[in-house]
Amino acid sequence: MPQSTILLLFFLGSLVIAGVFWWVWRTSRQPAPGSVEPLRRWIFVGLLLFVGIFTALTLWRMPYFLYAEELPERVIHVVSRQFAFALSERPIETDAEYAAALGQTVELPLGKVVEFRVTSFDVNHGFALYSPDGRIVAQVQAMPGYVNRLRWRFDQPGEYVAQCLEYCGAAHANMQARFVVR
């Protein structure tokens, strides 16, 4: 679901909830006999349906095995370290390789599957891809000692920003890398 849909769903849902509470609050001002007991069954059936439908709709859309069937066109190795990302087509295993990769400009193909192999040399970081219009399109955590593989297909050309999305210390806000998709 795109973020805007989620927000819309949330606001609509909140309105309904607030509406019900407001209505019940209004009824409380004039005492009268009456009970909501008969509604119970319907509420629970409704809830069960809601949970069932949502689970069925979303559980199989896990992002973990995105493009697992395909072979990536390019593999980019990503090493995070306070407070910069190094992106490179070559693996980064040493401090020297990290330093060398820092300045490199990376260009990625449009409409092709790309794989990021993301790890960290120090603390946990987040690796979030912001599209040229400033929206998160995909993300994965960078954890020391592990390499996480994120596959993604960029459908919009332009300059992307990889932004750290896990608090990693004082300069966390500025921990970024840029790359171009064309």
């Binding site: 973990y64 095995f65 697992a68 069937e69 072979l71 990536p72 390019r74 593999v75 190795h77 070559r90 693996p91 295993e93 790890t119 000692g145 592990y146 390499v147 996480n148 593989r149």
Partner: protein, 245 residues
């Protein structure tokens, strides 16, 4: 024997060295001509078309590690179904009959999943250099010094993995999984200086399996039930005690 031994001894340092394989990742190999021991003429990419391939190179005249290495592959890979093992001779002195004889010697000439063939001297050089496969003729021994490497190639002719030397069989299984096209979402880096690891390399299957670190996560809920039970028990015992005078 040798394989076992070397496998055990060198696995730890080489695990790190293997990471270097990333330098070869997705390099595409040239589509060189190959003559199979059945006499057919094929191109390398043609061999890759139906399934992913584990590729190894050898020389029929090799006095060194080629024989133990092929034996090791035979033992660990057996007759694979989901991928093919392709063994090609890089030695320009080899004739097709030499290659066929080698295949027979290992009992693998007709084994399912195995393909034996001969590289043509014209294409061999470009292939070897793409693969990073070192070959040097040693005239004093009249033999080649060469790398021992196993490659995983995908159907497009790209290198997916590259494994040097005799390795822990577990890692070989890992290669085989890669060759079958299994996508491994994430993998731990093989460092050993961690107190309680969440994953341990499984020697049998070559995959990472859960280990003590993860098991530790079961302790909190168990502790909760245990505590509730204990408190309950202590109170029950107290109640049954006769009142003190």
């Amino acid at each position: 024997m040798l394989a076992r031994l070397s496998g055990c001894l060198i696995v730890a340092p080489l695990l790190w060295a293997q990471l270097n394989e990333g330098h070869y990742y997705l390099r595409s190999v040239p589509d060189v001509p190959v003559t199979l021991i059945t006499g057919e003429q094929r191109s390398l990419h043609h061999l890759l078309q139906s399934r992913a391939v584990l590729l190894t190179l050898f020389s029929s005249r090799c006095q060194g590690l080629c024989s133990p290495y092929l034996l090791y592959l035979k033992r660990e890979l057996a007759s694979p179904r989901e991928f093919a093992v392709v063994a090609l001779s890089f030695d320009p002195r080899d004739r097709l009959t030499d290659v066929a004889a080698t295949a027979h010697r290992f009992g693998l000439a007709k084994a399912s999943g195995w393909t034996w063939g001969l590289l043509h001297p014209t294409g061999a050089m470009s292939l070897l250099s793409t693969l990073g496969y070192a070959v040097r003729y040693d005239s004093s021994r009249a033999d080649y010094d060469h790398s021992i490497v196993l490659f995983v190639l995908d159907r497009r002719g790209n290198i997916l993995r590259r494994m040097e030397g005799f390795q822990d069989p577990a890692l070989l299984k890992d290669l085989a999984r890669e060759a079958r096209g299994e996508f491994v979402l994430s993998y731990p880096l093989p460092s050993t200086d961690v107190a309680l690891r969440c994953f341990e390399l499984d020697k049998e299957t070559g995959s990472w399996r859960l280990s003590m670190g993860m098991a530790l996560l079961l302790v909190p809920p168990i502790a909760s039930f245990a505590l509730a039970g204990l408190v309950q028990l202590a109170l029950a015992l107290r109640r049954t005690q006769p009142p003190q005078p």
